[in-house]
């Protein structure tokens, strides 16, 4: 009987995430692609061929790939030392820094774009790349840092004692151990920059377009579903290829590591060199991540006649008599509620998926499948919802339930990639030890995997929450019966002339920043209680 139960459990582990993915991603996307590529009922891949042979579209595809690759490389290079500093050194304000790093991730690109322009950036490849590093710094720090904080420092101490220089010890001991987390984070950054939209529009200028901006144009503006579908196919194929390559590289490296509790591995900077290292990285973070945020903050107080709370006040009153006005408190509440729901969905689905992925070979397919939503244009998904989910009981097109579902879907890959490396490093003998002490398989999960993974789970939850708070691309396409979130409020304010509108948008952005910082800080602070 237990064998059957175990089997059912194993199937459910894979079936539930797959079912979710199938219903809320594969089916809608498939529908819209079918509209484009199989309008009469039979598949016509002609448009794809035309896309591949059109020189300018090929150029767009190529630009998309290499700006993403460049952005990913730079983000990893710049953020890796930051991840080290935040996860292994203890310094005053560490918790705040960890939470604050996530804020850029949350902000709508429209807002950040203008902050960058205010800082003197002109639309260029450089501006795009810097903005990408700005947004995705947190991804590397949280995913890699989260894993790094569990690694036993004795391992690279041992290497150093054996004569390896710091760098060598890093390369030969730490880097291989970090590989799964590093690859996971890099994959996500690549996907994000590959499908980057607002940044390309604002900081790339009209001469630069990527697959994503083209798909948007073809789908939303021109309703040219055939070309859009062809471009989507190219986009999804490229993304899938990247995921397969990364998945192979990750899967080859399964090392059972000695995991330490995150609390124990951090220490104060001891030598002058270490202090310089920590200090430099903090300065980089302040400059790169802080400067644009400070611009926003400053603007939110820059009322005519001296700094004041005028714009915040305006936020509450400006369009108060308008039907689509949502008081800021309600917008905040909506944002928080949706974020909470999305986090539950993401951690639930992602948690199950992480277990399935960490377990077996077939898990890698699941991992890649679940990461696909990151690589598919939000517009495609949004429009896909419109034509796929149109029959009861699934007519969710105007339901506000679709918003946390869409947001949760985007957050799932993060959850998986944050939890899987930790799960994989649990020595199976640890579980066996628990078993010989009388723990049933379910109990083993609770007692061994659970607490070890809990920390990673919280990192993932914090991330999912932040993603949802700032999510805009998918939700802008979902008709919203007055359940506006903060990013939507900001977007609407920016669409109207007048300094009060603009100022109120800055004020709302600042509120969004503060909200994110506070939420992530709180989630980080939840301690996994040291139980007996």
């Amino acid at each position: 009987m237990t064998r059957l139960a175990a089997r059912v459990r194993r199937v459910a582990l894979v079936a539930v995430p797959l079912g979710f993915f199938g219903l809320f991603f594969a089916y809608p996307v498939g529908s819209i692609l079918a509209r484009g590529l199989a309008p009469g009922g039979h598949v016509d891949l002609g448009p794809v061929g035309r896309v591949l042979t059109d020189a300018s579209l090929r150029g767009i595809a190529w630009f998309t790939v290499w700006q993403a690759a460049l952005s990913t490389l730079l983000t990893v290079l710049i953020a890796l030392p930051g991840a080290y500093v935040v996860s292994r050194f203890r310094f005053p304000g560490r918790g705040l820094v960890r939470a604050a790093i996530v804020i850029p991730f949350v902000l709508p690109t429209v807002v950040v774009g203008s902050a960058f322009l205010a800082l003197g950036f002109r639309p260029s490849l450089g501006a795009i790349v810097v903005a990408h590093v700005f947004f995705n710094y947190a991804v590397v720090v949280r995913i890699v840092g989260g894993f790094w904080s569990h690694l036993d420092p004795q391992q690279d101490d041992a290497a150093r004692v054996l004569g390896a220089s710091r760098l060598r010890a890093f390369r030969t001991v730490v880097l291989p151990a970090l590989r799964p987390a590093l690859l996971g984070a890099a994959a996500i950054v690549f996907l994000f920059t590959f499908t980057s939209f607002g940044v390309i529009l604002i900081l790339g200028g009209p001469t630069r377009s990527t697959l994503e901006t083209e798909i948007y144009r073809q789908t939303a503006e021109l309703l040219n579903l055939r070309t859009a579908a062809a471009l989507s196919v190219v986009q999804v194929t490229a993304v899938a290829a990247v995921l397969v390559v990364v998945g192979r590289a990750e899967g080859r490296h399964r090392v059972a590591l000695r995991l330490r509790s995150a609390r124990d591995t951090a220490r104060r900077a001891r030598t002058g060199l270490e202090r310089l290292f920590v200090g430099t990285n903090l300065v980089v973070m302040a400059a790169l991540l802080g400067a644009p945020l400070v611009v926003l903050l400053a603007r939110s107080f820059a009322t005519t006649g001296g700094p004041g709370f005028g714009f915040y006040d305006a936020l509450g009153h400006l369009h108060a008599n308008s039907v689509l006005f949502v008081p800021p408190v309600d917008a905040i509440r909506n944002s928080l509620v949706f974020a909470g729901e999305a986090t539950v969905i993401a951690v639930g689905i992602g948690g199950l998926a992480a277990v399935a992925v960490a377990r077996g070979r077939r898990g890698r397919f699941l991992d890649g499948a679940l990461a696909l939503p990151l690589g598919v244009s939000a517009v495609t998904v949004g429009f896909g919802f419109l034509i796929a989910l149109d029959k009861a009981p699934l007519d969710l097109r105007t339901s506000s339930l679709l918003i946390p579902i869409a947001q949760g879907t985007v957050a799932v890959p993060f959850v998986v990639r944050t939890i899987v490396p930790v799960l994989r490093s649990i020595d199976p003998r640890l579980r066996e030890a628990a078993m010989t002490l009388g723990a049933s398989p379910a109990r083993v999960w609770r007692e061994v995997d659970g607490p070890i993974v809990a920390r990673a789970g919280l990192v993932a939850a914090g991330f999912a929450f932040a993603i949802s708070l700032g999510e805009f691309g998918a939700t802008v396409f979902l008709a919203r019966p007055n359940t506006q979130t903060l990013p939507v409020v900001i977007f609407r304010l920016l669409g109207q002339p007048g300094e009060l509108n603009f100022g109120a948008a800055m004020a709302a952005s600042t509120i969004l920043m503060a909200l994110t910082g506070a939420a992530v800080l709180l989630i980080d602070r939840v301690r996994v209680a040291r139980v007996f």
Partner: protein
């Protein structure tokens, strides 16, 4: 109380445990001795239910354990590398098995503390396991396995990672503990000193099979096969006749008129004796020779002559080719 009958465990084409039969009586301490790769760890794991046997039977007090999952077998297993739970402190680790058995909190805690005191770790309850030394971790692992009062305690290389002095001390303590608690114990080790010191009965394992089982003294003085002889430290040579014989190192003596001629190729100093390694001229066999402490050791390269006590020479059955 534990009966392993004809147990076979296969990994693909390899036979890791080959029709092993072994019994452990109530309160008996049995040691399985063998080199790495002999299958002894696999044997323990199979008894614990962590490996699925291809054939044979494991029963405890007559009850067949086959259908039972590891967590239902009520056998304690102490792992070679301890496998302490990193997220729990010493008490948390120790009390784990009691919690799994639904022992009420207060009683469980009391028992755990008692066991910790038994292994000499009183006062360590709230220490983090990462801070402990190897020996301390060993004891926590032992306490954790003991606390739920298992019917049979199994130990995989119980003294493996310890330094010599600690090992000696722990050896004494373990022996004492086993006696005091009337524990039935089955342990595996590659160290024959450890096996002989701890066990009431020793089983020598080689390539999945048990080659000899018996009291330590018996196995030491009457090795049944060439492998056992070599493993417990006898010399194997054909220089004393035409057939392969086993010669105990302390049965060889330096004798100016001895029949065996050879050249010294190595010296070593042990705590209470010295050793020579001598390469025989006759056929090149290298023999270990025990030399008393106060005797003068010839230098490396010197030519020496040896004689063998007939009491320390045994003929052996032909060696079985290695399985697999």
């Amino acid at each position: 109380m534990l009966a392993v009958d004809d147990l076979t465990v296969r990994f693909g084409d390899t036979v890791a445990v080959d029709r092993v039969t072994l019994h452990v009586g109530d309160g008996e301490v049995v040691g399985v001795l063998g080199p790495s790769g002999s299958g002894k760890s696999t044997l323990l794991r199979a008894i614990a239910g962590l490996e699925t046997p291809a054939g044979g039977r494991v029963s405890r007090d007559g009850t067949d354990l086959q259908g039972l999952a590891p967590h239902q077998r009520e056998l304690g297993l102490m792992f070679q590398d301890h496998q302490l739970f990193p997220h729990r402190d010493v008490l948390g680790n120790t009390i784990f098995g009691l919690r799994m058995r639904q022992v009420p909190r207060r009683d469980a805690e009391a028992r755990a503390r008692a066991v910790l005191e038994l292994v000499g770790l009183a006062g360590f309850e709230h220490r983090s396991v990462d801070e402990l030394s190897g020996g301390e971790q060993q004891r926590v692992a032992l306490a954790r396995a003991l606390a739920p009062e298992p019917r049979l305690l199994m130990l995989d290389e119980p003294l493996g990672s310890l330094d010599r002095r600690l090992r000696e001390r722990l050896l004494d303590e373990l022996r004492d503990l086993f006696t005091r608690l009337h524990l039935s114990v089955l342990f595996v080790t590659h160290d024959h000193d450890e096996a002989f010191a701890l066990a009431e009965r020793v089983a020598v394992m080689h390539a999945g099979r048990l080659e000899q089982t018996g009291a330590p003294r018996e196995v030491w003085s009457h090795p049944a096969t060439a492998f056992v002889a070599r493993f417990v430290g006898w010399n194997l040579t054909t220089a004393l006749g035409d057939e392969m014989v086993a010669v105990r190192p302390d049965a060889l003596h330096l004798a100016p008129e001895g029949p065996l001629v050879g050249r010294v190729v190595g010296q070593s100093f042990r705590r209470d004796h010295q050793r020579l390694r001598v390469a025989l001229d006759h056929n090149g066999d290298v023999l270990d020779v025990t030399v008393p402490h106060d005797a003068l050791l010839p230098d490396v390269g010197e030519v020496v002559r040896l004689t063998a006590d007939p009491g320390g020479v045994r003929t052996l059955p032909p060696e079985r080719p290695d399985a697999g």
